[in-house]
């Protein structure tokens, strides 16, 4: 099977993630969409690793997963703190800062 299909799949995932960031209102879901984008990148890395015949891409995917986990923790902490104050996880409600 042509590995480049995986690239197309990863692009599709990335795009779905990017669109999700734009159209979803819940901060947690927005954040999940960003994670989807990161994982799309992982998929691309691993595919290219196979196409190029080097292991670097797979190692990078490891690092990306760890970084993504750390990001999850930080993100949830921030979203949680604002949720507890505002009682709403909608990103649309956070618009005191503008103009």
């Amino acid at each position: 099977m042509d590995p480049s299909y995986y690239i197309v799949l990863s692009a599709a995932l990335f795009t779905i993630g990017a669109v999700g960031v734009l159209i979803r209102r819940n901060a947690i879901v927005v954040f999940m969409c960003i994670e989807l984008m990161l994982n799309a990148a992982n998929l691309a890395l691993i595919t290219f690793s196979r196409m190029n015949g080097s292991l670097d891409g797979q190692i990078m995917a490891f690092f990306v997963m760890v970084v993504a986990a750390a990001e999850v923790v930080i993100g949830l902490a921030i979203i949680m703190s604002i949720f507890r104050t505002r009682r709403s996880a909608s990103v649309d409600d956070a618009n005191l800062l503008k103009y």
Binding site: I7, S10, F14, G17, A18, V21, A27, V30, F31, I34, M37, L38, A40, A41, N42, A44, L45, T47, F48, S49, M51, N52, S54, D56, G57, I59, M60, F63, V64, V67, A70, E71, I74, G75, A77, I78, I79, S81, I82, R84, T85, R86, V91, A94, N95, L96, L97, K98
Partner: protein, 510 residues
């Protein structure tokens, strides 16, 4: 199966290792030391770590031996060391602002971030000392920034990007007053930052697909040399650039800047404006000058348009701002444009003067935010510009200092702003980017107006009843203010030494 273990030059890594170590120690301090002692342990610990790190940078600079180490993940070269040194020095000044506790009982940071803002418990914790986790987080961020400037492959760069971004997201949320704004700033910064870093990562993947490698030397060799589709390279480069341009706050990736600068605690805003700028441009310079130098024909027109838009939009939007922190944020956007102009000259002068500009701007902006911290009333900082009316009569000394800083931002001669702007513009003309320089000069003329407006407001209006007083700064803020103003003056009147320093830094090691 045999492995060739990577050779690690620990001395070359020492400036960063010291900071990472101290940050871990700081976490332990927060875990083990009783609450009332933490501040008194954390501040000296951070300071000593930064000084030690700075010492190692100087030692490495004197060693004059440029190395690629840790399995080609990190490169220690002249510009890298200069940027690391700048980050350390600016970091120390920012640390002074963060450590200030005289202006407000307990400092600028909240005592317990988990307490619901506006609740009874929140009112109770109003006078309790602020969290001390800010110090290890600052150290992590600083170490990440230093790593970002001397990363030699895109993976290290990505990890470093996250290492310095994640603490910043949290630091933004920790303001003692106006906590809703602070938390909102953190959410926005986090979501958009993560969004941008996803682009960055996807760019890394594309470049990896194109070049088969992610280290800068390998990419440089692959550009023009690889048989792979150039589409991959261009998509990769564009997405990589987006991640970096987000951090430097270039239009249209600047949207977070005003909100975050306004909402974050002022010491953190200062820290971001000075140090993040250095790190982000350090990374951008290295990526463009080392990895993609050979495709500069591809990206210069596009990034040039971005630089032009950044200068114009930043300057024009600054004109109508009514909040001093937002004004400085838009000014920071415009300055990112001037820095991009220098960066895009793609010659040695461009590299040198961009680095010089970063340092000059860093000191000035730190001092400016130090004064913003001082102008306060019973509700905390009075950031609305209307409140600054007539400040010149209430406290002429600080109004004079702020006027001087505004003149420096406006690029009046004999301040560092002039030297720096002149340098980057001259370099850009030398690099055949004259059209960008014309836009830059026009934009700085526009930008002079909002600065002037602040000056006029301070000196030429009668103070109203609600004109806040300027608090007497504690030793920390006074030191930061003094260093910032002094460097702004020195780099304007006798920039010789600093320019020799950037000159000696030489070019990037490939």
């Amino acid at each position: 199966m045999t492995f060739k273990l990577p050779a690690i030059d620990y001395l070359a890594l020492a400036p960063m290792l010291v900071l990472f170590g101290a940050a871990c120690a700081g976490v332990l301090v927060d875990a083990l030391v009783p609450r009332e002692w933490r501040y008194h342990v954390q501040v000296p610990l951070s300071l000593v770590a930064l000084l030690a790190s700075g010492g190692f940078v100087v030692a490495l600079a004197n060693r004059k031996e440029h190395v690629v180490t840790a399995g080609s993940a990190v490169v220690i070269d002249g510009p890298g060391l200069f940027l690391q040194g700048s980050i350390v020095v600016l970091g120390i000044v920012a640390l002074f602002l963060v450590a200030e506790r005289r202006l407000e009982p307990g400092g600028a940071f909240v005592a317990q971030a988990a307490v619901v803002a506006g609740s009874e418990a929140d009112r109770k914790q109003m006078r309790k000392p602020g969290v001390t986790e800010v110090y290890p987080m600052m150290l992590f961020a600083l170490a990440g920034m230093m790593l970002f400037c001397s990363a030699n492959d895109l993976l290290t760069m990505f990890v470093a990007l996250e290492v310095f971004s994640l603490p910043l997201y949290l630091l933004c949320a920790l303001a003692r007053r106006r906590r809703l704004l602070s938390q909102e700033a953190a959410v926005k910064y986090f979501l958009l930052g993560a969004f941008a870093s996803a682009f960055f990562l996807y760019g890394v993947a594309m470049i990896y697909g194109y070049a088969g490698k992610v280290d800068f030397r390998g990419i440089n060799e692959a550009v023009l040399g690889s048989s792979n589709s150039k589409t991959l390279l261009l998509i990769g480069l564009a997405m990589l650039a987006i991640g970096l341009l987000f951090k430097v706050a270039a239009v249209p990736f600047h949207v977070w800047t005003p909100d975050v600068y306004q909402g974050a605690p002022t010491p953190i805003t200062a820290f971001m404006a000075a140090c993040t700028k250095v790190a982000a441009f350090g990374g951008l310079l290295r990526v463009l000058y080392v990895a993609f130098e050979r495709s500069s024909w591809d990206f210069r027109p596009t990034l040039g348009v971005i630089a032009a838009a950044t200068m114009i939009v930043g300057a024009v939007l600054a004109v109508t701002q009514t909040d001093i922190k937002r004004l400085l944020a838009y000014s920071s956007v415009a300055n990112a444009g001037y820095l991009l102009t220098g960066t895009l000259s793609m010659n040695r002068d461009g590299l040198k003067y961009t680095m010089f500009y970063l340092v000059a701007y860093g000191f000035t902006v730190l001092a400016a935010f130090a004064i913003v911290m001082l102008v306060r009333d019973s509700d905390g900082e009075a950031t609305h510009l209307a409140r600054w009316a007539g400040l010149g009569r209430r406290s002429p000394v600080f109004a004079s200092l702020f006027t001087f800083l505004m003149l420096a931002f406006a690029g009046i001669p004999l301040t560092s702003g002039f030297t720096a702007k002149f340098g980057v513009f001259a370099a850009a003309v030398g690099g055949n980017m004259t059209w960008l320089v014309i836009i830059g000069v026009l934009s700085s003329m526009i930008l002079a107006f909002p600065y002037l407006r602040v000056v006029v407001l301070m000196w030429l209006s009668v103070p109203g009843d609600d004109t806040p007083t300027v608090s007497v700064p504690g030793a920390f803020t006074a030191a930061a203010l003094f260093v910032g103003v002094a460097m702004t003056l020195v780099l304007g009147v006798a920039p010789n030494q600093a320019l020799e320093l950037v000159n000696d830094a030489g070019a990037f090691l490939r």
